[in-house]
Amino acid sequence: MIEVSFMRNIALGILSLALVSLAAGPALAELRIDITRGVVEPLPVAITDFEGADDRAKKFARDIARVASDDLERSGLFKPIDRRAFINTTVSLATQPRFADWRLIGAQGLVHGAVRIKADGRLRTEFRLWDVLAEQQMVGKAYEATPQNWRRVAHLIADAIYKRVTGESGYFDTRIVYVAETGPAVRRIKRLAIMDQDGANHRFLTDGASLVLTPRFSPSNQEITYLSYVGDTPRIYLYNIDSGRREIVGDFPGMTFAPRFSPDGNKVIMSLSTGGNSEIYSMDLRTRVVRRLTNHPAIDTSPSFSPDGKQVVFNSDRGGTQQIYLIPTTGGNAKRISFGKGRYATPVWSPRGDLIAFTRIDGGRFFIGVMRPDGSGERLLAEGFLVEGPTWAPNGRVLMFFRQRPSGPRRRQTSSRLFSIDLTGHNEREVATPLDASDPAWSPLIP
């Protein structure tokens, strides 16, 4: 049977040849290495003192650089390098910097600018952001403004840097409106206050004669809507920041609460309580036509529009406990999206559309958390004796909320402060306010 063994040998030969060719194949293929982990660190960036032609310009230059640097540092995504570590301080806007010097101190970005006071007294500010590792310019812009608005220029510079590096629009050229509180717990004086997001330019909007609650910014105009008690009746007001004009939003039978603007700024959505039942209504500010969204014996409140205006997220206890529900703007069936232990309240849809922030109360503790609009991916970001009232920055990356803590000599009083936190859960910081603060609302980017 020689032919049997011959055939076997042939078969073995073919098999081994096939296997050898297989073995040779992958060796010729391109080497690929997958990196699936990294670190989360702020980007080290060197922000030099901006140049100025004369002393006055130099002072503006230093202040603008400092405010922009503080903004970027506060975001938690950037780490300005200490100026004392700079090796080569001679940077000019006209020429390319010596990147090797900046790489030595560990900088990955370099910011330099110049301020000039023009003949008409206006400020002209230019800046450039360089990528030190790739040795290229990333962004360069120029701004003209009146000298009083130098802070806005600094915030705009910080926004431009933020946007170029992260791909998302910044949130530094914004304002916060909140309720400033003073006085003992039994006779609290609450006043509306507004300030830049870094705490500067603080001023009061109301005098504290009547109680004010839940201020909200319009996403498109410089208007605030808030709740104020006139006598014993709560009414929703509209306040224009630029003109100072104040008006009452509609005249409803009953009590109105929790007003919020629609994304286009033309509608206000609120909850109206009549005869013990609380429902959600939306009112068009131009036509003053009121539409009812929910129809249920349970308490429905705290509504918030989605950024595309098609859905409304709200808080209802129709399921037995306070939970979060979604309903189309045109009305319809409400869908529950929160299913954890405890109670959920104050849902706010992120301007980016991918998350809903809320307050959760469980076992006597309060939490601020986020979840996706379908209810999945719930994460709790902050906790406290009482934390409440999340509000989103206009780019949907940062949340601000207020935290009440027992304070005072025998912990009988409560102190209430504002805090900001990144949506990843990092970088929780206290926001500096002159008095106690609650109910923050973040403005959109100032046009």
Binding site: S16, R32, I33, Q108
Partner: protein
């Protein structure tokens, strides 16, 4: 079908003629046998800290008197090459006990020098730079580790092993600053095509899908963070084996933060 069955099934009728050895072809592109990079003293330090001391004590016996211990260290010398680097340290403690009185002669001073040699057989090649100090021992070392050195060169011909790739992965991961808050970050994959210099520094790095950088700002952010990871001076030179330059002259790095963002 029938041919395959005819060929594939074993012959039961008669024993096949034993003509050749069975061919075992193992198709591995990346070594399943770990091939740890040379000259990492801390690796073996962690492995056998207590066995190290008896090892080092043995070698002074070799250094000061190359002639005298010739009969005595023979058993030890024989013990050295035969085990693989991992098990070598295990075999030694047995010999140590037998030759204990000799050990006590060795003082602390000569110990540090031979320690560098003894920690890892692979470090023999590295210690070549201290050739002037160890001129006496060099021939001894080579004879002792001749078989192992031979084994070393054959190991160098294998493709890049898992441990070598893992070393590069870990190194770049330390420098990659992931933009975790970005939208849809967990589904984003960025490919960076890298061209290397022989001295293990990056000559050129570019994004594979460059046109997407203009269209998609989030992709640009992720791609720029990946480029920064590759160009970062902290991660240069890369921990790649210099002898295998042809294998890693050019390669693609795929950045995807899925292991960090649980979602």
């Amino acid at each position: 079908m029938f041919i395959i069955a005819f060929v594939g099934l074993p012959e039961f009728r008669r024993p096949p003629p034993i003509v050749d050895q069975p061919i075992t072809v193992e198709v591995v592109t990346i070594d399943q046998i770990t091939n740890p990079p040379r000259g990492k003293p801390e690796v073996s330090k962690k492995k056998k800290p207590e066995a190290k001391k008896p090892e080092t004590r043995k070698s002074p016996a070799l250094t000061p008197a190359p002639k005298e211990p010739e009969p005595k260290p023979e058993p030890k010398v024989a013990a050295l090459p035969t085990p693989t680097p991992k098990t070598a340290t295990k075999v030694k403690p047995k010999d140590d006990k037998a030759a204990d009185p000799k050990r006590t002669r060795a003082k602390a001073k000569p110990r540090p020098k031979p320690r560098r040699k003894r920690l890892d057989f692979a470090s023999v090649l590295r210690s070549v730079k201290n050739l002037d100090k160890k001129a006496k021992t060099a021939p001894r070392e080579r004879s002792a580790d001749a078989a192992l050195k031979g084994a070393r060169t054959t190991l160098a011909n294998r493709p890049l092993s898992m441990s070598e790739l893992d070393a590069v992965r870990r190194q770049i991961a330390r420098c990659w600053n992931v933009p975790v808050g970005a939208r849809d970050a967990e589904t984003m994959v960025v490919d960076i095509y890298v061209v290397m210099n022989p001295d293990r520094t990056v000559r050129e790095a570019r994004v594979a899908d460059a046109s997407r950088m203009q269209r998609d700002p989030f992709f640009r952010t992720m791609a720029e963070s990946a480029l920064r990871a590759v160009l970062n001076p902290r991660c240069s030179p890369l921990e790649l084996p210099e002898t295998k330059f042809e294998l890693w002259k050019t390669f693609t790095l795929g950045f995807n933060p899925k292991d960090m963002l649980g979602g």
